[in-house]
Amino acid sequence: MIIDLERFVVDERPHWERLEKMLSEMERDPERRHPLRDVLEFHELYQRCSADLAKISTFSGELDLHRYLEGIVARAYGEIHAGTQQQRKLHVGRWFTQTFPSTFRRRIAPFWLSVAVTIAGCIFGAAAMKFDSEAKRTIMPFQALNESPTERVRKEEAAQNDRLAGRKSPFAAMLMTHNTQVTFFTMALGITWGIGTIIVLFYNGVILGAVGFDYIHAGQAPFLFGWLLPHGAVEIPAILVGGQAGLLLASAMIGWRSRETRRMRLRRILPDLITLIFGAAFMLVWAGIVEAFLSQYHAPVIPYGVKIGFGIAELAALSLFFARAGRNA
């Protein structure tokens, strides 16, 4: 098709500029509801510019014009075909008390798998401690856990000074950031078809099982539960939720029994994925505070019964939260 290019540009430029202006307004304020008249005008301009792009494609020398039109057609195409209403305002309270628990329940299958892998790791860790005398040195992640549980309990209970005096806040911050990083990493490893996520969950389970066996075997169960339960009642479920997110990502990557393409599967799970992972991060803030300010203080400063009771209460509240919260929303 031979057209008078100069005249074509002069005639069409006002429409291109109008579409560009409308696009900039939409991009600046995505929540604005447009009147029907504007929507119809936008659609008409999009079709007109698309047709202009098709016409200009026959002009080899008009590369810049071609790119310019491609740019605005691509932007308009994105706005028209995006489908969902973009939501910029986030109501944190409603999101945490309704969206997070209901998403958790809707995606419960990968959570149970996450629990099963961790329990398998615990069994392995405990078995390794029972049958292999060298296992303790290999498994324990830091030196303090290598000493005898009885010796540690004796030292902790006899301590006169607060070893965390003046350092509780930085310690809590360190725990929060480190645990959140581990949880994000556990989720991100879902991209390896879940292999990485399963390895991290299993390894966590191995350490937990080994430590648990070591202390219970030494007759220090009250100390163990008093030490771990106050923060672990929230921290361990948070990491399991991170694993749930990772395994959800893995299930979309694998697509077992699904007729959808990988891209479609991933697009569908992404909002749930970020809800789970940010929910887990929120839980870890609480766990970090409890670990720094409560878990590190033992009897006689805080009786084990109080600490264990507190941990059980947290676990019950968390279970209730995940089971009931957001049901009526």
Binding site: M1, I2, L5, E6, E27, Q47, S50, A51, L53, A54, S57, T58, F59, S60, G61, L63, D64, H66, R67, Y68, E70, G71, V73, A74, Y77, G78, E79, H81, A82, G83, T84, Q86, Q87, R167, K168, S169, P170, A172, A173, M174, M176, T177, T180, Q181, F184, F185, M187, A188, L189, I191, T192, G196, L249, M253, R263, L266, L270, P271, I274, I277
Partner: protein
């Protein structure tokens, strides 16, 4: 795995319009990342000064640790969300994150592609992400694959120096207006772009390569539209291509 990389992602709208997005390569992406890391480092240095006085108190140390963590994780998420797919580094280098189907970028996509940096950055210097970029068709790192995003070059069209085309010489082919119009119609944009680049960069070629290149190009253009001998005789191959480029690119009043 046999992956054909084209450097562009062609898309077809339901209306039948085809447009293509120019994909960013690993090198430009690494440059943008380096700028972003420098920004995060500079911001954390600034924060350290701000928190310097407070850091005497344990609460100040805790606040600094948390703010630094949020900054390092949230920098990419916040900037890409508010600047529609661009961080500071991407702005400088001229890159933009887009949805793989050119749809509007969603918040969940931005979060996931940024959180998957934990894996892409392994084992060091983004080796996993770089390798993924190199081997995937649309130069995607693992975060892009999970979030269905691509990184494109945010092209700002620039006018080439068209005065170089003719060098003040008379273009005999322009006299044949109907043939010139047919040539504009038949030459594909990619071939027009090669002709223009060849002329603008002609002094960079070795003499032999220059002869071969312009010979090949002139042969190609001669095959598309046949001009009468009186318009083209005594024209060297290079002059022929110059004349063709002038017909294609120079606008006449």
């Amino acid at each position: 795995m046999n992956v054909v990389k084209t450097g562009t992602l062609p898309l077809r709208t339901p209306e039948g319009i085809v447009f293509s997005l120019p994909l960013a390569g690993p090198a430009s992406r690494f440059l943008a990342l380096s700028i972003d890391l420098a920004c995060i480092t500079a911001a954390s240095q600034g924060l350290e000064r701000v928190f310097g006085v407070l850091k005497i108190l344990s609460v100040g140390q805790a606040l600094f640790a948390i703010v630094y963590f949020v900054l390092s994780i949230g920098y990419g998420i916040v900037t890409e969300w508010f600047w529609r797919g661009q961080t500071l580094g991407k702005r400088v280098v001229g890159l933009r994150v887009m949805d793989e189907h050119a749809l509007r970028l969603e918040f969940s996509q931005i979060v996931v592609r940024n959180l998957l940096r934990f894996v892409d950055a392994l084992p060091l210097f983004y080796l996993v992400g770089g390798a993924a970029c190199f081997f995937t068709r649309h130069s995607q790192r693992l975060g892009d694959l999970a979030a269905n995003t691509i990184v494109v070059r945010d092209l700002k069209p620039s006018q080439p120096d068209l005065n170089q085309l003719l060098g003040g010489r008379y273009n005999s082919m322009l006299e044949q207006r109907h043939l010139a119009a047919r040539l504009r119609q038949r030459v594909p944009p990619a071939a027009a772009s090669i002709a223009l680049d060849s002329i603008l960069r002609r002094d960079e070629f070795e003499a032999r390569a220059r002869l071969e290149l312009f010979g090949e190009l002139a042969g190609y253009f001669r095959g598309l539209v046949e001009f009468p001998p009186e318009a083209t005789e005594q024209l060297s191959d290079e002059q022929y291509v110059r004349n063709v480029a002038e017909i294609l690119f120079v606008k006449r009043a």
